[in-house]
C-alpha cells in the first residue's frame, strides 16, 4: 500500500501529463502526423532495401522530389483557397513541350525560354482562374474539362513538334546545369525548390496577401464580408498553380529532354495524394508549405521504394491509391476529432497530498468553533451588484468593487445606498488597490493589470510577462491576474492564478491541483514585467508584509499561506506561514492591529481531499461527467480568518451555512468596519469591528 502510493506520487511528480494536451493544442502538431509517416516510410524502406539512404539515391530522389514538389506547392495553394486543380498534368505536359521547343528548335536563350514557359503556365492557370474565380464555375468540373482540353492541345502540338525537338539539341551550359548540375553537391532543382518553398512559407504565414489566401479558404463568405477581393484571390491562386507547374515542367524537360506523349500522365493523382498525405485539407483554409514538402517526400520515397523493390507498375499504383484513401479517411477523422482529443487530454490532474484535516478545523472548542458573526452583516447593494470579487475604499470612504459585466462600480459614502459605474473595463475586475495618487490599480481576469486614474481613464499597465523557455503553452500572456499590492518603491507585485485555464474555468484548475500559477513583478520605471515565482498552486491574495521587504500570498488549492521576500537579506526566499488550513484561502488584507485578514473561499471536505490523492479518479471524472456534476471544493460556506505573521490564527468569523456570504473571496478593513465581497455573490457585507482603529485605511499608501 505504502509503496504503491509513493509510486503513484513519483509518477505524477515526474511524468508530465499536462504537456500532451498542450502539445495537441498546438497548430504545428498537425504537421507531426505526416512527419511520423515520413519517418516510418524511411525506416521501412531502409530495412527492405540496401543503400536506400545513400548519397546517389538521395540526390536523385531529391531532384525528382523538387520537380514534384513544385506541382504539389501549386496544388496546395489551390486547395488552401478551397479549390482543386485536376488539370496540372496537362499543363505540365504543355509546358514541357513549350520549353523544349524554345530550347531545342528555336534555340532561344535560357532566360527567354524560361520566361516564355512561365508565361505559358500562367496563361493556362489563368484560364482556370477566370473560369472558377470570376465566372464562379465549380473547380472540380472546370479543371476536369481543362484537363481534357489541355491534353488534347498537347497531343496536337506534340504531333507537330516532337520530331523537330528530338532531332536537335541545344548547346547551353546553363540549360545543362538546370537539368543535371549541383551546387555544394545539392542538385540545382533542390536549391530552387528550397528558395521557393521558404518564400512561399513566408508568404503564407507572414504576409498580408498570404493571410488573405488563408482567410478565403477558411470562410469565403466572411472573407467577402470583410472586404477581401475573393474572386481575384481565387483566380490568382490558379495562376500561381500554373506557374509552379511550369517550373516543375522546366526542370523535368532539362533533365529528360523528352517530348513523350505520356508526359505527366497520372500526375494529378500523385500530387493530390502528396498534398492530402501532408495534411492539407480538401475543404480549404488549412495547409502549409511544410505539409506540402512532407507529403511530396513521402510519396516520392514510396514510389521510389516500390520501384526498387521491383513491384509491378500496376500494383504500385494500387498501393498509392490505397494510401490516398487511407490518408483522406484519416484526415477527416483527425479534423473532426482533434478538439475532442484535446478536451480529453488537456485536463490532467496531479497528485496533491493534503495532510488530514486537523482536529482544530472541525473541533468545537478550537478557534474555528462555529459562530454566526457574518450572518448578521449589514448588506450593501443587495441585488444591484453581481460578482464583487474584491472591495476597496478610498480616503473619502467611497466603496469600489468590480462586477461580472466588466465594470468598476462605486458606492457612495456615507450610507452606500447610491452607486454609479466608476469605469468600464471589459473584463471581470478582481484584486484592486489604490496608490497614493488615488489611481486604482486592478487585476482584470483575462486581460491583465489595469489602472483607473482619478479622472476615470482606464489604462493598460501590463498584459504580458517573459515567456518561459520550457513551457509548451504560450505563458507570456496574462490569463488570470487576480490580486496585487504596491510595494514601497512603487513596483507592483501581482499573482496570476493559472496559466492553463481561463477565468471561468477556475474549477477545472482546482480539479487539476497542479502548480499552474505564478507571481509577477511590474516595474514602472523600466515598464518591464517579469515572473518572479513559478509553479504555485492557484496563488492569490498578495499583500505587503510589515517589514516592507516581503509579501504574503495564498496558495488556494494547497490550503496554505506563504511569504516571499522581494528585497533585503532574504531576497528570493519563500517561507511557509500557514499550512493545512481547513479551507481554501483567497485574498489577504491588512487589519488595523497589524495582523491580517484572510478570506477562506470554501472549506475542505474529506471526500474532495481524498480525490486530490487520486489523479486517475479525477481524470476519469472530468471525462465522464459534465462539469456541474464534478466533485468540487465546498464553497457554499463563508469564513474569514485573522492571523499574524508568525502563523497563529487569532480569530474566525463564520457564515457556515452560507446564508449571506457563501464563498467569500475578499474582505477589507476600513475605519472600524469590515467590508466583505464574494465573486458569486450579489451583495457586499459590512460588519462593525469592535475596538478597531477608526482611522485605519488599508490601501493608498505608496506612489507608483
Amino acid at each position: 500500500m505504502k509503496i504503491s502510493k509513493s509510486l503513484v506520487k513519483l509518477r505524477y511528480r515526474y511524468w508530465p501529463d499536462h504537456i500532451f494536451g498542450e502539445l495537441l493544442q498546438k497548430q504545428w502538431m498537425e504537421t507531426a502526423v505526416p512527419m511520423v509517416v515520413l519517418l516510418f516510410t524511411i525506416v521501412f524502406f531502409s530495412l527492405q532495401i540496401d543503400n536506400f539512404i545513400s548519397v546517389s539515391n538521395l540526390s536523385d530522389n531529391f531532384r525528382q522530389a523538387s520537380e514534384l514538389g513544385f506541382v504539389v506547392l501549386g496544388m496546395s495553394l489551390v486547395l488552401i483557397v478551397g479549390g482543386i486543380d485536376l488539370s496540372v498534368a496537362s499543363m505540365f505536359a504543355i509546358c514541357n513541350l513549350v520549353v523544349l521547343y524554345c530550347m531545342h528548335v528555336l534555340q532561344l536563350h535560357v532566360g527567354v525560354a524560361i520566361l516564355l514557359t512561365l508565361l505559358c503556365g500562367a496563361t493556362l492557370g489563368a484560364v482556370n482562374g477566370i473560369l472558377i474565380g470570376y465566372l464562379r464555375m465549380r473547380a472540380f468540373l472546370t479543371t476536369m474539362v481543362t484537363l481534357i482540353i489541355f491534353k488534347a492541345l498537347h497531343d496536337l502540338l506534340n504531333f507537330k513538334i516532337a520530331v523537330p525537338i528530338s532531332s536537335q539539341f541545344p548547346d547551353s551550359a546553363a540549360w545543362n546545369f538546370f537539368g543535371y548540375g549541383s551546387f555544394l553537391s545539392i542538385p540545382s532543382a533542390v536549391w530552387v525548390f528550397g528558395i521557393v518553398a521558404i518564400a512561399s512559407h513566408i508568404f503564407l504565414t507572414r504576409l498580408r496577401a498570404g493571410w488573405h489566401v488563408m482567410a478565403v479558404g477558411g470562410n469565403r463568405r466572411s472573407a467577402y464580408n470583410t472586404g477581401l477581393p475573393v474572386n481575384r484571390i481565387v483566380a490568382l491562386s490558379y495562376v500561381a498553380c500554373g506557374v509552379f507547374t511550369a517550373i516543375a515542367a522546366m526542370f523535368y524537360a532539362a533533365r529528360l529532354s523528352s517530348p513523350g506523349a505520356d508526359t505527366g500522365k497520372g500526375l494529378e493523382i500523385t500530387v493530390l495524394t502528396a498534398a492530402i498525405l501532408g495534411g492539407i485539407r480538401l475543404g480549404g483554409g488549412k495547409g502549409s508549405v511544410m505539409k506540402a514538402v512532407l507529403g511530396t517526400l513521402i510519396i516520392l520515397l514510396i514510389t521510389n521504394g516500390l520501384l526498387r523493390m521491383a513491384t509491378p507498375a500496376g500494383s504500385a499504383r494500387i498501393i498509392l491509391a490505397v494510401i490516398l484513401l487511407l490518408a483522406a479517411t484519416l484526415e477527416i477523422r483527425w479534423f473532426k476529432n482533434r478538439h475532442k482529443a484535446v478536451e480529453e487530454l488537456y485536463v490532467s490532474p496531479t497528485y496533491l497530498d493534503m495532510p488530514a484535516l486537523s482536529a482544530e478545523a472541525t473541533g468545537l472548542g478550537s478557534v474555528f468553533a462555529l459562530n454566526d458573526r457574518l450572518e448578521h452583516s449589514e448588506m450593501i447593494g443587495l441585488g444591484d451588484i453581481e460578482s464583487p470579487e474584491d472591495v476597496v475604499l478610498d480616503r473619502n470612504d467611497h466603496l469600489y468593487c468590480g462586477n461580472r459585466h466588466g465594470e468598476i462600480v462605486r458606492f457612495l459614502a456615507p450610507d452606500y445606498k447610491e452607486h454609479e459605474v466608476y469605469a468600464r473595463i471589459g473584463g471581470q475586475p478582481l484584486g484592486m488597490t489604490f496608490d497614493a495618487g488615488q489611481n486604482l490599480f486592478v487585476c482584470v481576469g483575462g486581460m491583465g493589470l489595469y489602472r483607473v486614474t482619478p479622472d476615470r481613464k482606464v489604462e493598460l499597465i501590463t498584459d504580458e510577462t517573459n515567456r518561459s523557455y520550457l513551457s509548451i503553452i504560450d505563458d507570456s500572456r496574462l490569463r488570470l491576474a487576480d490580486d496585487l499590492d504596491i510595494l514601497p518603491d512603487g513596483r507592483i507585485l501581482f499573482s496570476e492564478a493559472t496559466v492553463r485555464y481561463e477565468m471561468h474555468e477556475w474549477q477545472t484548475d482546482s480539479l487539476e491541483g497542479r502548480g499552474n500559477g505564478r507571481i509577477i513583478l511590474f516595474d514602472p520605471k523600466t515598464k518591464k514585467t517579469t515572473t518572479v515565482l513559478r509553479d504555485l498552486t492557484f496563488p492569490n491574495g498578495v499583500v505587503l508584509a510589515s517589514d516592507n521587504e516581503s509579501i504574503l500570498f495564498a496558495e488556494s488549492w494547497k490550503c496554505s499561506v506563504k511569504r516571499y521576500w522581494f528585497d533585503g537579506p532574504n531576497k528570493g526566499t519563500v517561507e511557509m506561514v500557514l499550512e493545512n488550513l481547513p479551507g481554501y484561502p483567497d485574498n489577504i488584507n491588512k487589519a488595523s492591529d497589524g495582523n491580517y485578514w484572510l478570506a477562506l473561499m470554501g472549506m475542505r471536505s474529506p471526500a474532495f481531499d481524498l480525490a486530490m490523492r487520486k489523479p486517475g479518479f479525477r481524470r476519469r471524472m472530468s471525462k465522464q461527467l459534465p462539469g456541474d456534476e464534478w466533485l468540487a471544493p465546498n464553497i457554499n460556506t463563508g469564513c474569514i480568518v485573522k492571523f499574524n505573521e508568525s502563523g497563529e490564527i487569532l480569530e474566525v468569523l463564520w457564515d457556515h451555512e452560507g446564508i449571506n456570504h457563501p464563498m467569500i473571496t475578499s474582505m477589507r478593513e476600513h475605519k472600524g468596519y469590515l467590508y466583505i465581497g464574494g465573486i458569486f455573490n450579489n451583495r457586499i457585507g459590512r460588519l462593525k469591528l469592535e475596538g478597531a482603529d477608526e482611522n485605519f485605511i488599508s490601501s493608498g499608501k505608496y506612489h507608483v
Binding site: 487520486k614 456541474d628 452560507g658
Partner: protein, 374 residues
C-alpha cells in the same frame, strides 16, 4: 434466472470495460433518468403544511380506523389531525419500522428484531428466519389474512449503516412473510438490493422496493422477483396504499451521476469507506447542507445568493403516486435548496396525504390530489 442474467451482465461489463480502457472513455458517459412526464418537478412538498416537527421521526402507519401512528426514536406516538402527539409506547431501542395489524396490534422493527404487540401479554419477538438472523429491519407491511411482510434489507449492515450497504454493493436483502395465525415465517425473496418497503398490491401480488437497483419488483414464485417499476431516478423506499388501488412510493434520495461514477471507482470507494465518516461520503443523504465537510458538486455552488433547484442533489424530497396499473400519475417534490428531504414514509387517509420527511424531522400534511392539476 435473475441471478444468471446478473452474472452475465457483470461478465459483459468486465469484458467491454477491458476494451474500452484501451481507447478513450468518452462513450461511457454515465447518465441517470431525468424527472420527466409525471415526475415533473414542483414545490408541493416544500410548501406543504408542517404538522409535526420532531427529531428522529422514522415511519408512519395507519390502522383500520384511520388513526395515524408515527415512530420517532424509540417511541411510538399517535398523531392527531391537528398534529398533537400522544405517546403510545416507549421501547428500549430505536424503532426502524412500524405497522399496525388488524385489531390494532402494533408491530415495530427494532433493527435486528421484529416485535409484535410490544408490551402486551401477546408479545411475539422474531429475530431470525431460516437460520439467518435479522440485521436491518427497514419496513413492515400488514396484508389481509393476518400476513405480515418484513423487509430485512441487508445481511451485513444495520439500518443506520445503509450507506455502507450501498457503497459495498451488497445484494443480500430479504423479503419475509410472517403468518400471525400459524406463526410460520417464510422467505419470499432473497438476494434483494436493499429491501426497503413492501406492499400487497390491489391485484394481490406483492411488491418490494429494491433501493440500490432503483426499482420496485413484483415477487413471483419460488423467490423470483421481476422489476415492475424500473429505472427510477432515485432510491425507492416504503410504499403505502392509495385510494383507487394504486399506491404511494417514497423516494428517500435521488441518484446523481457522481454517485454512479463513485460506484464504478472501486479504489476511491474503498479508501473513502476506510478513512471517511459516512456522513461525509459521496453518497445520497436524507438531508444536506448543514455540515460544511460534506462534499459539494460543481453545479450546487450558491450563485447570486441562490442555490439552483436543478443543481445536483445530495438530498431530495420525492413522493410518487402510482395507479393500480403501476403507471406514475404525479409526484410531489422538495427540490435542491429546500428542506423537506429524505422522504421515508407516507400515509393516506381520505383525501389527505401524510408525508414523513426524515431529513427534516417533520410530518407534512397535504391534499393527495395536489398533483393532479399537473
Amino acid at each position: 434466472m435473475k441471478t444468471l442474467s446478473r452474472v452475465e451482465n457483470i461478465m459483459f461489463k468486465a469484458l467491454t470495460s477491458r476494451f474500452r480502457s484501451l481507447g478513450n472513455q468518452r462513450g461511457q458517459s454515465l447518465s441517470v433518468p431525468v424527472f420527466d412526464g409525471a415526475l415533473k418537478p414542483n414545490d408541493v412538498l416544500e410548501e406543504a403544511e408542517v404538522l409535526v416537527e420532531k427529531e428522529g421521526l422514522e415511519d408512519l402507519a395507519v390502522d383500520c380506523d384511520g388513526r395515524i401512528f408515527a415512530a420517532c426514536g424509540s417511541e411510538v406516538f399517535e398523531v392527531s389531525m391537528t398534529g398533537d402527539l400522544s405517546l403510545i409506547i416507549r421501547l428500549e431501542k430505536s424503532i426502524t419500522a412500524l405497522c399496525v395489524l388488524p385489531g390494532r396490534r402494533l408491530v415495530v422493527g427494532l433493527g435486528d428484531r421484529v416485535v409484535i404487540a410490544p408490551g402486551s401479554t401477546e408479545e411475539v419477538v422474531l429475530t431470525d428466519a431460516k437460520g439467518k438472523a435479522f440485521t436491518a429491519i427497514t419496513a413492515l407491511s400488514s396484508c389481509p389474512d393476518g400476513i405480515l411482510l418484513i423487509c430485512d434489507a441487508s445481511d451485513k449492515h444495520s439500518y443506520p449503516d445503509w450507506a455502507w450497504d450501498l457503497m459495498s454493493k451488497n445484494h443480500e436483502g430479504r423479503l419475509l412473510q410472517y403468518d400471525t395465525r400459524s406463526h410460520e415465517i417464510n422467505v419470499l425473496a432473497p438476494g434483494l438490493a436493499y429491501a426497503f418497503g413492501a406492499l400487497q398490491h390491489s391485484d394481490n401480488s406483492i411488491l418490494v422496493s429494491e433501493s440500490w437497483d432503483h426499482q420496485v419488483s413484483r415477487v413471483g414464485d419460488r423467490g423470483k422477483t421481476q422489476g415492475v417499476i424500473e429505472h427510477l431516478s432515485g432510491y425507492p423506499c416504503r410504499l403505502s396504499n392509495a385510494a383507487d388501488g394504486g399506491f404511494w412510493l417514497s423516494v428517500f434520495a435521488t441518484r446523481t451521476q457522481l454517485i454512479e461514477f463513485v460506484l464504478q471507482e472501486d479504489d476511491y470507494r474503498r479508501e473513502m469507506m476506510q478513512t471517511i465518516d459516512p456522513k461525509h461520503w459521496v453518497s445520497p443523504a436524507f438531508s444536506s447542507g448543514r455540515d460544511y465537510l460534506e462534499p459539494l458538486q460543481g453545479g450546487a455552488v450558491k450563485t447570486m445568493g441562490i442555490l439552483k433547484p436543478w443543481a445536483p442533489p445530495r438530498s431530495y424530497g420525492l413522493v410518487i403516486r402510482y395507479n393500480a396499473n403501476m403507471i406514475a400519475q404525479y409526484a410531489f417534490h422538495s427540490r435542491v435548496g429546500g428542506c423537506h428531504h429524505g422522504i421515508s414514509a407516507t400515509a393516506e387517509i381520505g383525501d389527505t396525504l401524510f408525508v414523513l420527511s426524515k431529513g427534516a424531522g417533520r410530518i407534512l400534511k397535504l391534499s393527495s390530489h395536489s398533483g393532479e392539476a399537473n
